[in-house]
């Protein structure tokens, strides 16, 4: 996203709040909803009287953090790391995060080419144990690859084990993946996944609530999970022990009315026990990507068919129109060919193709992309002036 606009007061206020408020702080979220980010940021920076719902000591702590915050510096650091700040109301803001109510992030730091909003429209979370078994890793890779091949974006937490396998499965099949981190997006965590996370930033999206340089804590992992749950149409838990973090994501998804799914495993495996618990509690049992898509696609697959593409052709960004124009009128083409036709890189073409997929213009079938019937219809309508 080049050519970012000059920071306005509301933007700077939200960047400050992203540094001052802990992710998921619902009291702070309420202040912002009731008074607006600018007023809350000013009150904190000026060390004014405490706002409702917080002790004097806690308020003093927040004011101290606000006094040290340097929003312009955070924005500059983000720019250096090729990250941007996306806030509610922005074109790129994923509206489904509003389901989090006052726990909604004040904004998200985002690294990567694609539009977070577009990609999140057709996304599924694939999460699970860090210390997963070979079976768990295999299932994560194969589910993610299958989802990617069906035009779905795979969201996960960038962790070792199932998360990493899910990201790799998506990347490995030329697919789209989003890592939601519990730390600054310029500071890949875990360290051993630095290369993987940088690759995701190159080919997909790396997202986080915390400002540049901020580090993860145990509670930040837990609250991060609500963002994964809210961002996606559904959450698949691949392997999880009893009381694992992935079950937190799954339960958040359930509360948010998202699809909650689990991959069964041997009844003898402690790493499937949490998933079985989830399945006994009403989550859907899934064994492959087709079954996941059958669930999460149930409404979305039909809706665009009735309404046509979400955005009219004229409102598409120039890069997306270029990529769309590079698709053959009939049949499929691989990404490499589309990228050549659109005179762009494969990563850029992939970013746009999954956006166009969310908008109902294109479909992925295995290794090839093709125009949907609606895309052909609306292109024809545009040409004849209907």
């Amino acid at each position: 996203m080049s050519g970012a606009p000059e920071p306005d007061g509301e933007l700077l206020a939200r960047v400050l709040l992203s540094r001052v408020l802990e992710p998921g702080d619902e009291t702070g979220g309420r202040w912002v909803r009731e008074r607006g980010a600018v007023a809350v940021a000013r009150r904190l920076r000026d060390g004014g009287p405490p706002l409702a719902g917080v002790s004097a000591g806690r308020w003093a702590g927040l004011c101290a953090r606000a006094a040290c915050a340097r929003p312009e510096r955070d924005l500059a650091a983000a720019r250096d790391a090729q990250a941007r700040f996306v806030r509610p109301g922005d074109v790129e803001w994923p509206a489904q995060l509003d389901d989090l109510g006052d726990g909604r992030p004040v904004g998200l730091w985002v690294r990567g080419r694609p539009s977070l909003r577009m990609w999140a429209l057709r996304s599924v979370a694939v999460v699970g144990a860090r210390a997963c078994t070979e079976y768990g890793a295999h299932m994560a890779v194969s589910l993610a690859a299958g989802l990617a091949e069906r035009g779905w974006v795979v969201v996960s937490g960038g962790a070792y084990g199932v998360d990493g396998a899910a990201h790799r499965g998506a990347l490995g099949s030329g697919g789209a993946t989003v890592a939601v981190l519990a730390c600054g997006v310029d500071r890949p965590y875990p360290r051993g996944h630095t290369e993987l996370i940088n690759r995701i930033a190159q080919q997909g999206l790396v997202v986080g609530e915390l400002p540049p340089g901020d580090h993860p804590t145990p509670s930040r992992f837990v609250v991060r999970n609500r963002v994964i749950a809210a961002l996606t149409r559904g959450t698949v838990v691949v392997e999880a022990a009893h009381r694992s973090g992935s079950l937190v994501t799954a339960r958040a998804a359930q509360r948010l009315g998202r699809h909650t799914m689990g991959v069964p495993g041997p009844a003898t495996s402690a790493l499937s026990a949490g998933v079985h618990e989830l399945l006994r509690g009403g989550a859907a049992l899934v064994t492959d990507a087709a079954e996941v898509v059958e669930l999460v696609g149930a409404i979305g697959e039909l809706a665009p068919r009735r309404r046509g593409p979400v955005l009219p052709l004229d409102l598409l960004e120039p890069q997306a129109r270029q990529v769309l124009a590079a698709l053959p009128a009939r049949g499929r083409a691989p990404v490499a060919e589309i990228a050549r036709g659109a005179r762009t890189s494969e990563d850029e073409a992939t970013a746009r193709l999954y956006e166009l997929r969310s908008l109902g213009y294109v479909e992925r079938h295995g290794e090839g992309w093709k125009l949907t019937r609606q895309a052909i219809t609306s292109a024809r309508a545009g040409r004849t002036g209907c």
Copy 2:
């Protein structure tokens, strides 16, 4: 069951019908319901005009079979094999089989000491693939052992694979097991399970609809499954490929309003695919015996507690009263000790203990048996004449 009464006309008629009608023949079942077994048997034997719902050719076939039938000889053959014929209305008839409507067996051939009715009261079917994996065999053994230790009777089909593992798991923990065969009970099938089936007849029950000497056919396996489903409180499928016979049992159980359960396995295993299909269709996911008992015991565990034992002490058979009297007033005793106290064999004691368990008099805890509170209360009531 020594001292069998002289065969009456109705008994001989049902024995003849058990030879003439195929198991599960609902047209024949309707004739018997509408006209009584004696009239139907006479009409078939006399080669009278066809009854409703059957072609002339098919009727002629049935009459030919009836002409060759020798019910007295079948009863004698059964006696030689230490088998008895149990029919609707008998004390030993499991009333829940009446849920099969006109598909109810005309009678059952039974080998073994215990009362089929008593044992079936608290029974669970554990079924699955013949060509099961090591995992499937392990799960069948461990579920069956766990059920046996909780005082539940394990019912299965005597086949290779999961069935055999379930029977062995129950026997191996001194438990109760019933094999429902698709052939004559004097003719163990499969041949490789001759020894196992004979052991089940010695320590438990071997049951079948077909008269002595009759052989199994593919369709007989399928209709046999409805008896397993109807006899038990619920069916657990351990491993099953798509379209397997165990799924037939599970769906029959579902239709009959019994609990239907499945053991999850790796999503990559073809032998778990059928179970996962079942679980996606609404069956309950279970991973151990405790979870099975939680489901099937839900009503039964409470009901006897309110009503006291099903049968008053005075109506118990002498052997059962002897075994009951051999239990210590406080604490648990192993079967060997109870058998010594009752001056009987361990197999006989086990047969009675599981009967008494069904009636609410005793409980099994691991390797020991103890009196229930109700048993103590009703014994005391009996003594004081209340």
